[in-house]
Amino acid sequence: MDFAQNLVTTFNFILQGVGVTIGVTLVALAVGLVFGVTMAMARVYGNPLLQAIAAAYSVIIRAVPVVVIIFILFFVIARFVNLSPFWAGSLALGFTSGAYQSEIFRGAFRAVPSGQMIAARAIGMSKLQAIRSIILPQAVRLALPAWGNEATLVLKDSTLVFVVGVPEILRRAQQVSARTLEPFVAFSVAMLLYLVLTLLTTQILQWFERRYRLQM
């Protein structure tokens, strides 16, 4: 009885972190998508300067632990704009995810046969037009499986934004465990919630994959 009650209160308490975790993940994925697609385009179709910038972004960001980037961005950005911890943490996570997503999309762009770009240019499309209406729709579909993997990684990396004070699932579990001194219960609940969230993410993305499959 005591145990069950403890479990229920613990569960309810940690559950309030789910909204924050989902929020951070969605913002980070969206920001990362913008960075990722832009950088991948620069890397594959840009001039040498753009290529170099995009490559440097990808190499450097992927070489640094995510938590370090979050910490630096929070305290550096905070100088110029007064961002709340939630936004600073989410944007930093998105900036990081962008580097990984740029690699995913780079591969996807490359997987679209290069003859299509030549053909599109031959019928008078500009480079940007060709990317937008010929290459990108195919590349996005090709990128989906790998992107789904990145989505689950970002979901779990969202635990890191707590270093700047965002009370997501894991931090709430730590708070409960500090109060009740029952780490096993607290972290089991956290694990269960992450499991549910990850399964949901995978399901949603698989639906997208099926729905928008390339008919080749």
């Binding site: 170099a52 440097a56 450097i60 905070a78 270093v163 004070g165 500090a178 109060r179």
Partner: protein, 276 residues
């Protein structure tokens, strides 16, 4: 061609790294560099109508979060009492203990109350108010331990656990290891105190040295016994940390803390949280 691209990449990487350093460097220098801004800290807080206070809410009975999500504990009641006398609202921001000083330096928070002791190292980066509570440490051992301790040095030669980055860890290093009383491989540093307590309970190590009140709470939960409570390993009292050079804020907080000590308010708050 390939070589040139590689060179270009290296150059850009170097530039980025440099600019990152340049951007980060002021972090450590800012406190001394901007006295003009700091001297207005108190006015700034009063104008905003609230003081943003950082804490690490995983350290009962000083600070924790109850089942309804409220910040509770001795420190939390104290800072609210201080806010009341200051005439401003208190906004509490939860962070890991390690992030608190950096957040304070960067102006993300106005003060830190987290059972923090004003050690010399921390004092170089931020300022501290007068102590609001003196600190005691406790040595704990397993229930069936036959060890008897009359003074901290009696721990010599026994395996001992401490929390990383704490004053207790430094005391053990300075007074037991450096003096040759305890071999270095008999000292174990844990990320959190409760992990050390579990190892004592399981017989992996003999002793645990930490803050007295959380130690008593832990001892109750994990079935340890307290061998000795002492002031001589502690470095002083717990203080509120404020930005370096915020002298007006320090003067005001010192005055209020002294007032709260003198009129018995702190004594009362201590009693509600079962602190001696």
């Amino acid at each position: 061609m390939k070589k040139r691209i590689a060179m270009g990449l290296l150059l850009i990487a170097a530039l980025l790294a440099l600019s990152a350093c340049a951007a980060v460097q002021p972090t450590t220098q800012q406190p001394g560099a901007a006295p003009a801004e700091d001297s207005g800290k108190l006015a700034q807080i009063k104008a905003a109508g609230k003081i943003v206070v950082g804490t690490s809410a995983d350290y009962p009975p000083y600070e924790s979060i109850d089942a309804d999500g409220n910040f509770v504990g001795f420190d939390m009641d104290l800072i609210r009492a201080i806010g009341e006398r200051l005439g401003v609202e208190v906004e509490i921001q939860d962070m890991p203990f390690d992030s608190l000083i950096a957040a304070l330096q960067e102006g993300k928070i106005d003060a830190v109350i987290a059972a923090m002791q004003a050690t010399a190292e921390r004092d170089e980066k931020v300022d501290f108010t007068i102590p609001y509570r003196m600190t005691k440490d406790a040595f704990a051992a397993a229930q069936d331990s036959t060890l008897v301790m009359e003074k901290p040095e009696d721990a010599a030669g026994h395996s001992i656990g401490v929390q990383t980055g704490t004053v207790q860890e430094r005391w053990v290093q300075d007074n037991l290891v450096a003096t040759g009383l305890t071999p270095a491989d008999k000292v174990f540093s844990y990320e959190r105190a409760d992990q050390a307590a579990l190892d004592v309970a399981n017989g992996r190590i003999e002793l645990l040295l930490m803050d007295a009140e959380p130690a008593m709470e832990l001892a109750k939960q994990t079935g340890l016994k307290i061998l000795l409570i002492t002031e001589s390993t502690a470095e002083g009292g717990k203080s509120i940390a404020i930005p370096e050079g915020a002298s007006d804020l320090k003067a005001e907080l010192d005055r209020i803390i002294q007032e709260l000590i003198d009129d018995g308010t702190i004594q009362k708050i201590q009693e509600t949280h079962g602190l001696p």
